[in-house]
């Protein structure tokens, strides 16, 4: 795995996240978390446990920017935990992946499913934990749907542009 490339991509995505996507004020319910792009598109070469630790770190960094200690951390750990299971459920021969996750190796259909499932899972976890009560459940669901839509578009767009 090319660490330099991964870290540079993470830095660029975090700048976009904090300076652009966190400042969006669309309808009051659109809070996309595009930084998970880096976690989701990481090659699947590392041991599962290291994946989860990387997820925890990325989540903690995001939490510092959001004043929501622990919320993104748990969502990212969950994301990295389920990632290999979702992948093996979507594709029969995992060898075909050749360790790289891309539109080329996954195919459009599997890629879309992979992104949609993981983004919805992550965003729902973040917004549920951030609300920390059942009182705002309607708002949380709406927030999840609207924000996920934008995140999914960004991540799919990134993949399409990269492997056009």
């Amino acid at each position: 795995m090319d660490w330099t490339k991964q870290i540079i991509r993470y830095a660029v995505v975090m700048v976009l996240q904090v300076l652009l996507f966190d400042q969006l004020q669309l309808l009051g319910v659109c809070h996309p978390y595009i930084y998970i792009l880096c976690l989701m598109m990481m090659p699947i070469t590392l041991p599962h446990i290291s994946d989860m630790l990387i997820g925890a770190t990325a989540g903690l960094i995001m939490d510092i920017f959001c004043n929501s200690l622990g919320v993104h951390t748990s969502a990212c750990i969950l994301l990295m935990y389920v990632r290999p299971y979702i992948l093996s459920a979507l594709i029969n021969e995992t060898d075909r992946l050749n360790e790289q996750l891309s539109l080329h190796s996954l195919g459009m259909e599997a890629m879309t499913k992979y992104v949609v499932i993981l983004v919805l899972l992550h965003h729902l976890t973040v917004f549920m934990l951030a609300a920390w009560s059942w009182q705002h459940v309607g708002f949380v669901v709406l927030e999840t749907l609207v924000s996920s839509l934008l995140t999914i578009l960004v991540i799919l767009g990134y993949n399409i542009l990269k492997y056009r």
Binding site: Q25, M52, D63, F65, N67, L69, G70, S74, I77
Partner: protein, 260 residues
């Protein structure tokens, strides 16, 4: 024993997952109870510095508007000075808003004052128009403030006209409005009634503007009103705030600590 080890090894991924999640949940609980870590929040110097730099750059686009605002504030301060009655218990420390969100359930703002400027956890924050919030986490140079537009916030208020007490809460919908609860049905509530801080807690001195009644509904069979308050503070335009140093607050808190 060997079997146990085998099982542990087999499920090691799941066990690590559970351990990490438990740690993350402890962080959430800890952060809700008493967020004292200034490093793990936007009071973190590097994080706040980054936000401050960006707001300095974008701030140039609002200069004219801010000039007008400052001129108005100067005028009102001079008026107040003219009729000052020597209240020395309360002092104000002005601070700049470095970062703020207004459209989440749990909104926060970061200001460029910290322990080095004498800021302490639990101090009240206001601006020239009204109440802003309470200092929640303090770093050396920056602090995080929980504004009244945060669903975790409760603020004790009273009607200016008859001193009737109510509790202000935010419903998470619109940063311009909040709800006033605990107002019993026998009260007469009119649209346009002024709501100010009650002074029941030492955080805010009494009489700071909170908002005015926008609408009040008394459903049949209810013993309490549902009151919408239009807040005095415009959170979307918040650039400067004042932290309240209340000499009484320290004394009162010492007394309360003594009771435990």
């Amino acid at each position: 024993m060997q079997n146990l080890l085998k099982i542990l090894l087999r499920y090691s991924n799941f066990l690590v997952f559970v351990l990490l999640e438990v740690a993350a949940f402890l962080l959430i609980v800890y952060n809700h109870a008493a967020p004292r870590s200034s490093v793990l929040s936007t009071a973190n110097r590097m994080v706040a510095w980054q936000y401050e730099t960006v707001s300095e750059i974008t701030g140039y686009f609002h200069l004219r508007q801010q000039n007008d605002q400052l001129a108005m504030e100067n005028a009102s301060l001079r008026n107040q000075l003219a009729q000052a009655e020597g209240v020395e218990i309360i002092q104000y420390q002005s601070a700049k808003v470095v970062q703020m969100t207004t459209d989440r359930l749990h909104n926060y703002l970061t200001i460029n004052c910290g322990t080095d400027d004498g800021i302490q956890r639990g101090q009240g924050v206001r601006n020239e128009n009204g109440v802003v919030g309470v200092v929640r986490t303090v770093g050396t140079h920056y602090s995080v403030v929980m504004p009244i537009i945060n669903t975790m916030m409760n603020l004790s208020c009273r009607f200016l006209k008859n001193d009737y007490i109510g509790t202000l809460q935010w419903d998470g919908k619109d940063s311009r409005f909040a709800l006033l609860t605990d107002v019993a049905a026998h009260m007469v509530v009119n649209t346009g009634d002024t709501i100010v801080t009650s002074g029941l807690s030492p955080i805010f001195p009494e009489g700071i503007p909170v908002g005015i009644v926008e609408s009040s509904v008394l459903h049949e069979g209810d013993s309490y009103y549902t009151i919408h308050i239009r807040l005095s503070t415009n959170f979307k335009r918040l650039k400067y705030v004042e932290v309240i140093h209340n000499a009484d607050q320290i004394q009162i808190e010492e007394l309360l600590d003594g009771l435990d």
